[in-house]
Amino acid sequence: MLDLSLTQMAQGLAERKFSSVELTQAFLQRIQIVNPQLNAFITITESQALDAAKAADSQLEKGTATPLTGIPIAHKDLFCTEGVKTSCGSKMLDNFIAPYDAAIVTNLAEAGAVSLGKTNLDEFAMGSSNESSFYGAVKNPWDTQAVAGGSSGGSAAAVAARLVPAATGSDTGGSIRQPAAFCGITGLKPTYGRVSRWGMVAYASSMDQAGPMARSAEDCALMLQHMAGFDARDSTSIEQAVPDYLSQLGNSIQGMTFGLPKEYFAEDLNPQMAERIQAAIKELEKLGAKVKAISLPLTRMAIPAYYVITPAEASSNLSRFDGVRYGYRCEDPKDLEDLYKRSRSEAFGHEVKRRILIGTYALSEGFYDAYYNKAQQIRRLLAEDFQKAFQQVDLIVAPTTPNPAFDLGSKITDPIQMYLEDIYTLGVNLAGLPAISVPAGQINNRPVGLQLIGNHFGESQLLNAAHQFQQVTDHHLQKPALV
């Protein structure tokens, strides 16, 4: 039952082979057994889940079910959930019970999905290894010595380890795709503005985007169907109809042109990774796709641009955590300044502090033009490069990361080294594009991710191509040898 796809689960529920309560209990039991090894969950909402499952069963009985009714999922713990702790992986919000639901939490609940709890993440989504969480690192289900990736490491590990069939994630610089790649699952970062940001705790507002994480493109399509859509509460949400993603999955990719940016296959790329990616590209060619060499010359510049803009926005976004209205407050503050200083010093972790400091510096008088404005210029040029590429190709194909998952603790003391691992994912966020990571094999039992990048609102094409790839490969069906 735990290995079924979402569509198969929906079918099983519809045919009453099992109930939503049974399905939910099966996953909750699996969480009880496996989660202690992985640390994928921060909060498990067992009783709410069982209530929701009962409600789903009655809908299934009444015949008012939708394709997600009764299917267990989990939410990354930076989506606000009414009445449930929303920690953002931070001591700052360890005591914070959100008073409202994020848009996607509402959307998925209305579609009948049953949330089992909240998954672990890098503190405020700042990290590429899930080691910056106040609740401890998530371990990679394939190899518990390895990181699960970040920041949506909890969701990725939970899906890979069959603790849930699907989960939500958020991606500001690769936070869905990179952990999906490290844990051998499929993860989609939608076009900026496709999914409402209402209720998603902001890291870098101009890049944050929520998306689905599941075992296959088909499952991601079903999840995205119920996450995407215009939301008047989010001014950056775009008013454009949501296509029927599932109905497009079967299209042939014959004749589609895939661009290979030479900068994504340069010296940064691990040779074994390159082999796996080239093998995957061969599969696409076998399906009739054409491959074309392209160039995205500003690729390396994406890293400094990203690590100026996102900290700048974060430094402002995280100002509200001041110990005044909610969240952590230091003991016995002697005055206002002491309240601010100690509450923030005691409750934010190293990586968050580092980025607040970088961002504050970048926005300071006298430095603004040299850093923030320059970074915005790079961002515009980079987006133009992508647009030029999309005049020649339908999709871009590349590795998701230069290397497979690294060892826990191996990069945490060297932030620059850690940031460089994001080289293939950041550009997509700077340009607001959609991209998907799909499993493409392993290196020493550590999974490899193939990344497909589309033009704005190209989610259908991405899911279609990924699904076609998954019809002729079985990388996404491999599972870690856990208990």
């Binding site: 929303t86 919000l93 940001r197 705790v201 989010d234 402002s316 100002s319 509200r320 300071s364 008088e365």
Partner: protein, 482 residues
């Protein structure tokens, strides 16, 4: 040495939108603390702002009223600083491309001339909440009802040279925003607040002196006093050989002095940057034209019409156009009675005095423009004497009747022009006062004038003010001299 002051103003007008600039909370004044603060105003994690279109519309109207160019595109920025009444840790404001560009206003000076003051720009921003320092046993309470209230910040060029000019500009802006209905302009409730930048320099010198900013002055009177005080203070410092430190000062109306709040060195680095949660607002020129076409007649236009078309004096026109409800009242009365000068005299005289006595605004006047015009019509056609007209006004104010004619009828105030009836009264008065008549006739002709007043008074009293004064004078003269 002769000194010259240079004054610029920053005026915050609270816009009269129903809801806040980025949230659906009510903006009503005086509610229970934090009862008008929703999750957006509280800056809960994950909340997002949505711009209030009404606030944009109001700002554009103001821009049109001050002859400013409205940009095709306007953007919002974040101003970052920590304070407990600033829940997000930043204020959403406009720095790079404000919604109202350069414009100007003409102010009327006391000598009857006018002066053009350039408006640098005006921008939209959100207000902060309030910190409450009393009643919390050494702690501070925070009320976020006001947080997120839309403000229009109007920034003038430093082109005023006296406190009186600054007040004239402030009054002019006050009447524009109230005419447009975009703000109630209530300074006591903080709907309109003013900061003044003041510097002095030797007369004739081009270079500006160091300036001080006086914060949050909350009445017209205090603006004048605070600026005058600050000019005097700066002159004294300079004449004593001192230097003016660039700083922010607070005006204390109780002591009539300004006090240093913070110096430039302590100034925050606000780290402005474009707000990533709000997309640039594209302003459609057709929409601007639509607003322009629907603009009401503005104070300056009204003042001109009152002088040029209705023949009022500059002073009368200025008084009547100072507030829209007053000007509207006047316009209605003139339309009905057809005599602008008479309407102006009576509105500035009898009506203004009554409003003053009752301490109410023109909008609460107990006599409607229709009723008021009814009195003036009867005054013009000689049905009423001046004194009787005042009685009719008082009766209408006291709700003793519906129309002037009804009161005239009920009280018998119709002016008597029938010479026979007047003669009878005169005869009666003269008969009762034979001694005075003798005295009059015995007096030198140049002393008689004063003595006539006694008889007129008696006659008017006997007629309850209804005798036509002209007829009384003529007939009385005949009889006394006859």
């Amino acid at each position: 040495m002769q000194w010259e002051a240079v004054i610029g103003l920053e005026i915050h007008a609270q816009l009269a939108t129903k809801t806040k600039i980025f949230s659906g909370s009510s903006t009503a004044f005086g509610a229970e603390p934090n009862s008008q603060a929703n999750i957006i105003d509280l800056a809960m994690p994950g909340i997002l702002p949505v711009l209030n279109k009404q606030a944009v519309e109001m700002a554009i109207k103001f821009g049109l009223a001050i002859n400013s160019a409205i940009p095709e595109r306007t953007t919002f920025d974040r101003k970052n600083y920590f304070y407990p009444d600033l829940p997000k840790g930043y204020q959403t404001t406009q720095m790079a491309t404000p919604i109202v560009g350069r414009g100007y206003l003409d102010i009327q000076l006391e000598d009857g001339s006018s002066k053009r003051i350039a408006i640098h720009h005006a921008h939209l921003e959100e207000d902060a909440g309030k910190s409450l320092h009393e009643d919390f046993q050494g702690m501070t309470g925070v009320d976020l009802n006001r947080a997120g209230t839309p403000l229009l910040e109007i920034v003038t060029e430093p082109e005023m040279s006296t406190a009186k000019e600054a007040v004239a500009l402030l009054r002019s802006i006050h009447s524009i925003i109230t005419y447009l209905g975009i703000s109630d302009g209530n300074m006591a409730e903080g709907s309109m607040r003013c900061d003044a930048n003041v510097s002095v320099r030797p007369k004739g010198q081009e270079k500006l002196g160091n300036r001080c900013e006086i914060k949050n002055i909350n009445s017209f009177r205090f603006v004048e006093r605070a600026i005058n005080h600050e000019i005097q203070r700066q002159i004294e410092v300079l004449e004593d050989g001192g230097r003016i430190a660039q700083q922010t000062r607070l005006y204390d109306p109780d002591l009539n002095e300004t006090r240093a709040m913070r110096s430039k060195e302590d100034a925050n680095d606000y780290r402005y940057f474009p707000c990533p949660d709000l997309l640039p607002v594209e302003i459609d020129s057709a929409f601007v034209q639509q607003l322009k076409d629907a603009l009401p007649e503005l104070p300056e236009e009204k003042r001109q019409r009152f002088t040029e078309q209705l023949g009022l004096s500059v002073y009368d026109a200025g008084v009547l156009s100072s507030s829209r409800p007053l000007a509207d009242y006047f316009d209605k009365v003139v339309a009905l009675c057809g005599d602008a000068q008479l309407a102006s005299n009576w509105i500035s005289g009898e009506l203004a005095a009554q409003l003053n006595r009752d301490g109410v605004e023109i909008t609460q006047a107990a006599v409607t423009p229709e009723q008021f015009a009814g009195i003036l019509i009867r005054l013009k056609d000689d049905t009423l004497s001046n004194g009787a007209a005042k009685q009719v006004f008082a009766a209408l104010w006291a709700k003793e009747g519906q129309t002037a004619d009804e009161i005239i009828e009920a009280k018998g105030l119709k002016q008597v022009t029938d010479t026979g009836a007047i003669e009878a009264i005169i005869d009666e008065i003269l008969a009762k006062n034979t001694a005075q008549v003798e005295q009059y006739r015995a007096a030198e002709p140049d002393k008689r004038g004063k003595m006539v007043g006694f008889f007129v008074g008696q006659i008017m009293k006997a007629s309850k003010g209804t005798a036509n004064p002209k007829a009384v004078n003529e007939l009385l003269a005949k009889k006394l001299n006859g």
